[in-house]
Amino acid sequence: MILVGELALWVALLMAAWCATVSIAGGKLGRADLIASGERAAYATVALVILASAGLWTAILTHDFSLKYVASFTSANLPTVYLIASFWGGQSGSLLFWTLLLAVFTAMTVFGNRARNRALMPYVTGTLGVLLLFFLATLCFASSPYERLDWVPAEGRGMNPQLQSPGMAIHPPNLYFGFVATHVPFAFVIAALITRQLDSEWLAAVRRWALLSWLFLTIGIVLGMWWAYVELGWGGYWAWDPVENSSLLPWLTQTAFLHSVMIHEKRGMLRKWNVTLVAATFLLAILGTFITRSGVISSVHAFATSDIGSWFLIFLILGIAVTAYLVTTRLRDLEARAHLESMVSNRRRYGGYIMHAGIVLMFAAFAGMAFRGVHGDVRLGPGETFAATDPWGRDWTFTNQGVSEFAVLNRRVTGIALATTMDGKPQGIISSEKRQHVDSRGNATFEPSTEVGIHSSAKQDVYVVLAGVVGDNTASLSIAFNPLVVWAWVGGALIAIGGLIVMWPQADRRCAQSGYIVRLRPEHASLAAT
């Protein structure tokens, strides 16, 4: 299965090259047979990439440490959910995951448009084929997940403990979903620019993809914030880390596009702007990947760096050059035209309201963090109590219940339990852990990581980080009161719900009009009034 997967990757490369070539040639020459062949190549590519992914998953789940990727990012004692997630935990695996999503989206686009947008589709398929070709070439020539080691280690290095969090198992796939979904609108823009069919057809085709991408980017970013908050022990959820910023940039342009697309649809205005925004979103997604992969900037996301940065840089420059050429040669076609479209449906409007309410909640939560109160380096021996007042003026006490040490799954844990009271009323136990991950032979792997203790309520989170144990039993702690944090997550959930409402497929039918339509000429108008 593993070897079959490896071979499938190479055949997929061939198929993507064929798909790109014959689709564009078919569009230029107007030959339906070439276009059909290109579309079949897109289907073949997705089947082969699925096979290649299945091969890697098999290698990971069967602990085939002869593969460098499996040995580098997993270990025999890693829980199964993280084994599955390790597919996107490292460099080449995450590239394969990206390619898998892109191949699936390409096939979905080709299938969904088999009877629509036929004039655009050869170039859409062709552009997506070129993108697939790039990622598959990177996988085959620069960063193969199937690269083998000269010898077979008895145990793998294991997964970075910071990545061993439920948020981590779903945060990267969400972001990848969002990033990869920007490729489809980009392909439509390129196709619309090549064919000069810049009316609203391409917009209708890309709006749902853009929204899907935006929704997943948003969920991915919010999950990343949540992961940073509960796992990294920063105390906050956003640190303006370069990689965070690079995920925020395409989110901003995508947000702008989702707003300006309405003006384009309703008024035929902002065409240049929309074309630029779609292309910019895609290019920024690639830039973000380049930043994460190349290691040019140090970041908490430096899990997956390697030397494929140069591949992405060249790809990025080519993408900018092609887009700039197409836009500048078609400026006249991008002028606003008189054009009328139907009004926005109510369903979209209400979904939009919910999303905006979610944004407002999130910003309220961000503002709350301005009032946070932090008490660093609190030292508590067994039975000792620390007292503090929160930003709402309530008095808290934290009593050390003792430090404990135990082993669980693939880690050794040092934990502390604090009994808490607020204004004299008991609030339960908050516990925080320091975790030392070990491999299956008990040897320590990676640096120790922190598990934050959080007591959450509508008004604030009490946030406890165990920095370490001093001497025998004295815990060194950081205790913070973070106002309104929970509303950031509620806001994120509202955005997701609003997005689903907007995206929910709607039967495309129009209500029959009842009544009659009368044309009144001026001489009859007076008659009618009598």
Binding site: I2, V4, L14, A32, D33, L51, K266, A338, L340, A528
Partner: protein
């Protein structure tokens, strides 16, 4: 050895699947559209809706005066085109006149309530909207009642209004 054979078979199947359309005319092969199909003719209703909307957007500050003026002149152009197109191809004037006359005939027959306007029921005695007595005859003594919204019959005193 076996994986190699499987891989080769998969590659051959993929190549065959992709090349088939080149060697036979595939009845399912997607046909190309004619680019630049007939542009959609704007309906007058769409144009008036759009004009009303830009008016609203200007009042709520979403549209600058310059954009409003540009859009208004453009939409007015579209509206004129649409009207001309409708004149040249659309409903024949005779048919439109016939429809108008039918509607006018229908409306003339209908009763009119002072408060609610023309009633849809041609033989109504009371307004189905507000319950007012519509001018006509008293249902008791058949005397003519000319006063709109009269509550009692001037001849027999019967209650007219609900």
């Amino acid at each position: 050895m076996i994986p190699l054979i499987i891989g080769t078979v998969i590659a051959l199947v993929a190549v065959a699947f992709v090349l088939v359309p080149l060697f036979r005319h595939d009845p399912l092969a997607p046909e190309l559209d004619l680019p630049g199909a007939l542009p959609k003719v704007a309906e007058e209703d769409d144009v008036t809706g759009a004009l009303r909307e830009i008016e609203f957007d200007r009042e709520t500050g979403k549209l600058s005066d310059a954009d409003y003026a540009a859009l208004k002149s453009r939409y007015t152009g579209v509206a004129l085109d649409a009207m001309r197109a409708a004149e040249s191809k659309g409903i024949s004037p005779d048919a439109a006149d016939l429809a108008e006359e039918a509607v006018l005939r229908y409306r003339r027959r209908a009763m009119t309530c002072e408060a609610c306007g023309p009633r849809p029921e041609p033989d109504a005695l009371y307004c189905s909207g507000c319950g007012r007595y519509l001018p006509g005859r008293c249902s008791g003594c058949n005397a003519a009642v000319s006063e709109p919204a009269a509550r009692f019959c001037p001849s027999c005193g019967r209650t007219l209004a609900a």
